[in-house]
């Protein structure tokens, strides 16, 4: 989309305000990354450059275990939630039906429910069912809260899809499945990938819900970092956070680029 210059949208002081906002948003993160290379044991006292903390992170079995847990949960939650999100989006795009508005609202509602409420509710639910808290309960909880994140980009993509395309496929002798496979799916794929990446990153990041429903041995990376911080902020925490940040940025950039791919 070529951008059209619009004089009417120009206001004074936009640039300084923007800079202030960016500093406010990103300065703490920049400081965190810088301090992760600090040689000093006291995280906030700069004495010299060092990769020590990164090495120590990679040698720490507990951190590696937590990382593996995080990746397993994030991958599982992404695959399952994206699958169901795609089905939900297709159903919502299939035309008007009774209760469609309510259903659409309910699909997006988890985004608005305070996380602590979901966390407590999930914990009570698992306990009521008699499920033992562990990686499985974490995975189940993650699938649930990842759903709306996966759903929204897919739905947006489907909404921009000309319904005539599916009709054209059917008109050209494609069965329902063939039409989906050959026309609809390739066209909504950027939305699906975008939704999956969003789900992955949200799962990887989650602390509150995971903290409530994770049993012993099911520690994920954010929960582990929280545990470290209680013992004082070390540059090790900075290093883990910086690594996590890199993964997040990579995913967000990828997700954005795939989502913007022209149809």
């Amino acid at each position: 989309m070529p951008s059209i210059e619009n004089r009417l949208w120009r206001f004074h002081g936009v640039a300084p305000t923007a800079w202030l906002a960016f500093v406010y948003l990103y300065l703490p993160i920049v400081i965190l990354v810088v301090l992760s290379f600090n040689a000093n044991k006291v995280a906030t006292l700069w004495t010299g450059f060092s990769f020590d903390w990164y090495l120590r992170v990679l040698e720490n079995d507990n951190i590696l275990r937590a990382t593996r847990n995080s990746l397993v949960v994030a991958t599982g939650a992404t695959v399952v939630s994206t699958f169901f999100a795609t089905l939900a989006a297709l159903a919502m795009a299939s035309g008007p039906f009774r209760g469609k508005g309510v259903m659409n609202a309910m699909l997006g509602l988890p985004l608005l429910v305070p996380e602590i409420v979901t966390a407590v509710a999930s914990l009570l639910f698992f306990l009521a069912l008699g499920l033992e808290l562990g990686l499985t309960t974490v995975l189940i909880a993650h699938i649930v809260f990842c759903l709306p994140f996966a759903y929204l980009p897919i739905r947006a993509r489907l909404e921009g899809l000309d319904p005539r395309l599916a009709e054209a496929a059917a008109d050209l002798y494609a069965s329902r499945w063939q039409a989906f496979r050959r026309v609809t799916l390739p066209l909504i794929l950027p939305g699906v990938v975008s939704g999956a990446m969003l789900a992955f990153i949200v799962s990887l990041d989650d602390f509150v819900i995971t903290f409530f429903v994770a049993g012993a041995g099911a520690t994920t990376l954010p929960v582990y970092i929280f545990g470290l911080i209680r013992m004082g902020i070390t540059p090790e925490v900075n290093a883990i956070s910086a690594l996590l940040l890199m993964v997040s940025i990579a995913f967000v950039v990828l997700s954005y680029r795939v989502g913007r791919r022209p149809s």
């Binding site: 009709e167 054209a168 059917a170 008109d171 050209l172 002798y173 069965s175 026309v183 022209p262």
Partner: protein, 360 residues
């Protein structure tokens, strides 16, 4: 299945959208037969039900009541991919992620034809629509006219029994539209496929069709050849929708038409033997300004239009009438605004409109 005179039979088809008080009747007991290898046009203003009818032939909508038959076999309950009918959509609906040749091959591949047959057919179709050089392009790299031809090739490639065209030319500019009209007609002759064309453009319908069905308000108004539709419209709707028309009322007496204070036309200006008050329609080119004309009036406006000039005349009895003359080089204007003129009519120039009580 062959040996049927009719390709498509539309039998008392009605279509209702919505329920209860919000229901609208998009199509009201329409019956018509489309012949094999015919270029048949559904013509009418937007909302007349023509597209609904087309979508029901394609299978995107089911009739609320009535039946649609293809070569004598009912299509009821058959899904779009189970009907040997292809559609050229108004928006073309080309698959944006596929190349031109992949688009054209799509139907044949879905039918399970082998690779060689598909490739051969795609090559032939692209040559037919003169797009052989564009096989590897994607739809967004083509102009509107080229996209239109891809849509046409894609729909023709599986060699359907019937090709449905939904306002397929309306997105093109005038010059391109004229070219495509000729092209479509050629393709229809060369492929021998029954074409059902939907349009709101009466000129397009008159140029291309073997027969036209004029639709209005969900009802079939008239079916006939372009000449029949143009020269002998059966009612006010058809006469008004197609071409330019003057609507007049008169008194038919013997073979004459009496227009009260405006005078009378003696020799069989009305094609039929109806008597008494009649509602009439007349094409402006069937009337002429002439010294020996039977009607009198005053020119209220003169509209120069290049090939011809239109004279708007207020008759002496207060009715308005349009007269058109072809312009010739060096000829002077026949009349200017305010002139008193006399109007003559060709035999049969006046068409009797049914379903209306005329009054002089």
């Amino acid at each position: 299945m062959n040996g049927h005179a009719y390709s498509i039979e539309i039998d008392q088809v009605s279509k209702r959208f919505g329920h209860g008080s919000e229901a609208t009747l998009a199509l009201d007991t329409v019956s018509l037969n489309i012949r094999t290898n015919e270029f048949f046009t559904l013509l009418g203003p937007s909302g007349c039900g023509k597209t609904t009818l087309l979508r029901m032939i394609a299978g995107f909508e089911e009739p609320t009541s009535g039946d649609i038959r293809l070569d004598g076999v009912s299509l009821t309950g058959r899904l779009p991919f189970q009907r040997p009918v292809n559609t050229v959509f108004q928006s073309y609906a080309l698959f944006p992620h596929l190349t031109v040749e992949e688009n054209v091959a799509f139907g044949l591949e879905m039918l399970g034809r082998d690779r060689a047959a598909v490739r051969e057919a795609v090559t032939r179709m692209l040559a037919l629509v003169k797009l052989s050089d564009y096989a590897r392009r994607r739809p967004h790299q083509l102009s509107g006219g080229q996209q239109q031809r891809v849509a046409l090739a894609r729909a023709l490639a599986p060699h359907p029994k019937v090709l449905l065209l939904d306002e397929s030319l309306s997105a093109l500019d005038l010059k391109l539209r004229k070219d495509m009209q000729v092209e479509l007609k050629r393709l229809q002759r060369e492929t021998g496929i029954t074409f059902v064309f939907v349009t709101h453009d009466q000129e397009e319908a008159l140029t291309m069709s073997d027969r036209i069905a004029v639709m209005g308000g969900g009802k079939l108004q008239q079916v006939g050849s372009p000449e029949e539709i143009y020269d002998r419209p059966v009612n006010r709707f058809v006469a008004d929708f197609i071409g330019e028309t003057s609507f007049l009322t008169a008194e038919a007496r013997g073979s004459a038409l009496e227009f009260g204070a405006a005078g009378r036309l003696a020799e069989g200006a009305l094609g039929t033997t109806a008597q008494g008050p009649v509602a009439l329609a007349a094409r402006p080119e069937r009337l002429r300004l002439s010294e020996d004309g039977g009607l009198t009036g005053v020119v209220s406006e003169v509209v120069y239009r290049g090939a011809d000039t239109l004279y708007l005349v207020t008759l002496a009895d207060g009715q308005n009438c349009r007269v058109r003359h072809t312009n010739r080089l060096g000829a002077r204007e026949r009349a200017v605004t305010g002139d008193r003129v006399r109007i003559a009519a060709e035999p049969g120039a006046f068409q009797l409109l049914t379903g209306e009580a005329g009054h002089a």
